[in-house]
């Protein structure tokens, strides 16, 4: 059965995040202004969300003696240029841009400290200082070179698969707020999804961040569920992989109803839909 490889240090999997850094990411999420929020930009929300996600991925692999390399992780930003936002340490992940998670854990760009309320176990709360690692900051400039980003992603996963042919295949999550400005991304997406390990083809998921107040379309099984006035919604849908079994289970646990055709796609996502989807899309199977 595909997409069932156990994830171990010997057979890790990879997560590669493609983040839209185009000028429109400076805007707030759709609907935010109308509600009178001093709304942070989409770029800010995305950077915070992905920093939090990377932190959670590290913590899923952390034990008292250190971080176990169950995952290799990469982040590619696309806007003013197409660039890898996480630089591998010497000799680690060189060529693939996918860094063993222990190296990510030990090399945040900086640590921030914040105070959070935690339960005191007696019905009250108490303040606790927690350290929060930051790997990258928001950027928003120029166009949306999504095709180039998908092409760089394809190069990354191809080399990574050569080194890990039996692993659960890489999961690529593309987060964007608009249309590609450098060509037809469907062709590049198809190319990316043709690479495969023994356990299955590369998974490509897409999250489209909202520009309007319309309700998010989360995990559609058919393009009939998409708004008819946005052609690129259909393109993004066609670019997207179906969810494998483990992620369908994760989606069901989050309260979604899923079918065998459910795609790893969210259209018009608000911040909460983005967070929920990233949680589902990074649950490949259980760690061993």
């Amino acid at each position: 059965m595909p997409y069932s490889a156990e994830i171990s240090r010997e057979h890790p999997t990879a997560f590669l995040f493609l983040l839209d850094q185009s000028a429109s990411m400076q805007d707030a999420f759709g609907g935010a202004e109308q509600t009178g929020d001093a709304a942070p930009s989409k770029a800010r929300v995305l950077a915070d969300t992905v920093n939090d996600l990377l932190q959670n991925l590290v913590l899923r692999c952390a034990k008292e003696e250190g971080v176990r390399d169950y995952f290799h992780v990469g982040v590619i930003g696309y806007g003013e240029r197409v660039q890898r936002l996480i630089e591998p340490a010497d000799g680690q992940g060189a060529g693939t841009g996918l860094v063993p998670i222990s190296h990510l854990a030990d090399r945040p760009r900086r640590m921030e400290e914040r105070v959070q309320e935690v339960s005191d176990g007696e019905g009250g709360t108490t303040e606790q200082r927690v350290k929060r690692p930051i790997w990258f900051d928001p950027q928003a400039k120029n166009g949306t070179p999504m095709c180039q980003a998908l092409d760089l992603a394809a190069q990354s996963v191809r080399r990574w698969i050569d080194e890990h042919p039996r692993s659960f295949p890489p999961v690529v999550v593309n987060v964007t707020d608009g249309e590609a400005t450098d060509g037809d991304p469907l062709r590049y997406a198809q190319q990316l999804r043709e690479f495969a390990t023994d356990d299955g083809e590369v998974l490509l998921f897409n999250v489209h961040l909202s520009e309007s107040e319309a309700t998010p379309v989360e995990l559609p099984s058919s393009s009939d569920e998409l708004p008819t006035d946005a052609e690129y919604a259909e393109t993004l849908f066609q670019m997207t992989s179906r969810l494998p079994f483990s992620m369908r289970s994760a989606a069901e646990q989050e309260g979604y109803s899923v079918t065998l055709d459910t795609r790893g796609f969210v259209f018009n996502a608000d911040p909460s839909a983005l967070v929920t989807f990233l949680e589902i899309g990074t649950r490949p199977s259980n760690l061993r």
């Binding site: 171990s8 008292e64 971080v67 176990g121």
Partner: protein
């Protein structure tokens, strides 16, 4: 039957998940044979938590000194949590951010405990997916809390080492024992494997044959790659005893 003290021999067999130099099991087991009643416990520290082996050890050592009831378990839990907190605090203090964060989250473990009374009764309590078997003659007399090997999920009920975390409700059961019964307390991977194959095979296991069977079953895919632990208790005979 007059009150009688069970004379029990036991074997604690364990093969860590990674059978190599880095081998560290996050399962723990403890048996208290004296004074009566006899008590035994196994615990399985959750892989995704840190300091889980320590928590599993605190739980089994604590449980064999308590009456095996949900009420006694719940009453003792705060002391066990404090013991774990103190043990971890010094180790986490100067550790990297992720070790501090994991220590703050706490560890999680399943727990299964058994108590044999002098009156020929036994009782057990469980949180999570450990498996208790009572073997009599050539059959499985009891398989608890489930006899279905497909009932094992990757999301069992757990006991948290931090008080702020929700506690799953312990489940109790009771039964009767007699001489020559064999009890098995197994952590989840072994319990599911025994249900899928034949629990009676465990009666003859030694440390060596268990290890061979575990490695062979992992290789053929019938046993999940997880810490594999079983306590085997054989009631050899009974001796008349004074009330404990």
């Amino acid at each position: 039957m007059p009150p009688a003290t069970p004379t029990v021999t036991y074997r604690h067999l364990s093969v860590p998940k990674h059978d190599g130099d880095e081998a560290v099991s996050e399962d723990a087991a403890a048996v208290r044979t004296d004074p009566s009643p006899l008590r035994a416990a196994v615990a399985d520290g959750a892989t995704e938590s840190a300091f889980a082996a320590r928590w599993a050890t605190v739980l089994v050592r604590g449980m064999v000194d308590q009456a095996v009831t949900p009420e006694a378990l719940a009453a003792a839990l705060p002391d066990w949590q404090a013991e774990w907190r103190d043990a971890v605090a010094t180790r986490a203090h100067d550790a990297p951010w992720y070790v501090q964060a994991k220590a703050a989250d706490g560890a999680f473990a399943t727990l299964l405990a058994l108590e044999l009374s002098r009156e020929g009764r036994w009782r057990a309590v469980t949180v999570g997916d450990g498996g208790l078997f009572q073997l009599r003659d050539d059959r499985v007399h009891v398989a608890w809390p489930t006899a279905d090997p497909e009932a094992f999920t990757n999301r069992p009920a757990l006991l948290p080492s931090r008080p702020a975390r929700p506690v799953s409700e312990p489940e109790p059961t009771t039964g009767a024992w007699r001489p020559h019964d064999v009890f098995l307390l197994a952590t989840d991977a072994v319990a599911a494997w025994l249900l899928r194959t034949d629990p009676l095979r465990a009666r003859d296991w030694t440390a060596d044959t268990f290890r061979e069977a575990v490695l062979a079953a992992r290789a053929e895919g019938t046993l999940r790659a997880d810490d594999a632990t079983v306590l085997i208790l054989e009631i050899e005979e009974t001796s008349d005893g004074e009330a404990a």
